[in-house]
């Protein structure tokens, strides 16, 4: 390679290689958020429409990036850990500001009802909201850049499923020809649930339907949320369907009725965010191959629920 024609990006890669070898690097300017985003876009390909879900949610594109953290959700706890770890760019699979579009309305005029309330029953998040304000202040004070990466990551080579399988110790057990079904060592549903709880570090987030004594060896993994048709089309192929979340008045009664009809199967939900964390660990591993000159780490968002005692 002609050294004079080394692009800034390639130079950064070489510099990153030196850093990885433990040698100090001088003079290599940290890439900006915008440059990192460009690398991610190029790496993943596809269309990136301006009105898509994926994109910059907080921070300036000019920010020099010291380190990147990936997570299922940029919660306040995750952001604090990211700052402590010396990173200032967070790649989040889920929204940061409590709704799919990450939008915040202006506060209502005195005496007026909040306009533009989000969702059928939702609260209208506005810029005066104390939780929004405090989170935004923390982000601004620490110059954190938040980039949402869902649509372009979940379509990449089944990485969300692979990541979850890996966290459960099943990644080598995928049934050939199927993207989400695994043949795991036979165990009861009760024991499988206990193991999943431990491996995913769950508190109250795990819920199960089915006879605890049911033998489980074929498992389908569905990180994120699934609709009933996924169960209609796949449940008969497996002993256990493990999902992030479902609609309770559709999928859980189906799982109940399947048992009443004499089939021995189980449904386990672990929570949407917990089911997506491992896929974002896989995202960190992939990012290291694309953004070579910046340290990348994974910070799990974890289980948001606890149980009353």
């Amino acid at each position: 390679m002609d050294s004079e024609r080394i692009s800034r990006r390639n130079f950064a890669r070489i510099a990153g290689g030196i850093a990885a070898a433990g040698l100090p690097v001088h003079g290599a300017a940290a890439p900006t958020a915008d440059e990192v985003i460009k690398q991610i876009r190029e790496g993943l390909g596809g269309e990136w429409p301006a009105n898509g879900i994926d994109g910059l949610k907080a921070g300036s594109p000019d920010t020099p990036i010291k380190g990147i953290a990936t997570t299922a959700m940029a919660t306040v706890e995750v952001l604090r850990q990211a700052v402590k770890a010396g990173t200032n760019m967070v790649i989040s699979y889920e929204p940061t500001f409590f709704g799919s579009r990450d939008t915040v309305a202006p506060p209502p005029a005195p005496g007026q009802q909040q306009a533009g309330g989000r969702g059928g029953f939702g609260s209208a998040l506005n810029t005066d909201d104390p939780v929004y304000k405090a989170k935004k202040e923390f982000i601004d004070k620490n110059n954190i850049v938040i980039f949402r990466l869902r649509d372009h990551w979940r379509t990449k080579d089944g990485q969300m499923v692979n990541g979850l399988a890996d966290a459960l110790g099943w990644s080598a057990r995928r049934v050939p020809g199927d993207l989400a079904i695994y043949e795991v060592p036979s165990s009861t549903l009760a024991d499988t649930v206990a193991s999943v709880k431990k491996k995913l570090n769950l508190r109250a987030g795990l819920r199960a339907v089915g006879d605890p004594k049911t033998k489980v060896s074929r498992v389908m993994l569905c990180p994120g949320a699934i609709a009933i048709d996924v169960m209609w089309n796949n449940y008969e192929k497996v002993d256990l369907l493990l999902a992030g979340e479902i609609r309770e008045w559709e999928c859980s009664p189906y799982a109940v009725d399947v048992v009443s009809a004499g089939q021995k199967r189980g449904l386990v939900t672990v929570g949407r965010v917990v089911s997506e964390d491992p896929g974002m660990r896989a995202c960190a591993a992939w990012l290291k191959t694309v953004v070579k000159n910046i340290p990348v780490q994974f910070i799990p968002a974890g289980d948001p629920y606890w149980r009353a005692s």
């Binding site: 409590f98 009443s260 606890w306």
Partner: protein, 259 residues
Amino acid sequence: MTAREVVELIKKNVGVQWREGGRDTFKIGDPETTVTGIATTFMSTFDMLKRAQAEKLNFIITHEDTWWNDPDNTKSITDNPVYKAKLDFIQKNGLVLWRFHDHQHGRVPDQSVVAELRLAAIDDPKAATSSGAPYVIPETTLGELAAKIQKKTGARAMRVTGDPKMKVTRVRVGPGYAFPRMTPDTEVIIGGEAQEADGGFDYTSYARDAAALGIPKGQIMLGHQVSEEPGMEEFTNWLRGFVTGVPIKWIPAGEPWWS
């Protein structure tokens, strides 16, 4: 009395204008069937139907869907063995299924909420209106309130988010998927289920970040069935006030979850 006549009595007594075209319709069976008994439930699961049939109750009034999707659309599942087995059981036993959902929630107060409030030891129908100020309870903590509800419901899979030590006096309660609004003057919302993230408003993420920031906002998720089943007991008692001459029994579907 036929099933249709029972429904006509409900329409006459419901107290709100009847709207056609919603969820509250006959789902299966002949409306002209003579009613041997009425079974009410949160959800007409296969197991619940078997229990109703064993008690010779042939008219089922269910709050939720029968065919595992809100509009009870069966087009794509006609070959599904579970669908076939459940349908066969319903037809063989001449059961009639009718849904009572939209008008139950449309009543003021909503029977589901009146009964759900009692789970939080709030025995006051005035608290069951969704507009206006949050309901004020004697000062407690989120941990204590959740423990009280846990004891009262015996729920196996209740999920709480927020700081257990946060003080609570102002709460809102919503049934099923209708989580109440987390308004600035509300500290704790109590509901059935909500999409965890990427929805219209992500209650769980909000309560979680609030706890991390030391802002008193909490959420108690009872589970859809736990939140709405008592409302069908309430409905049953109401139904007995104007439907006489046939046995009427509340047959809970039961919490689907263990954990």
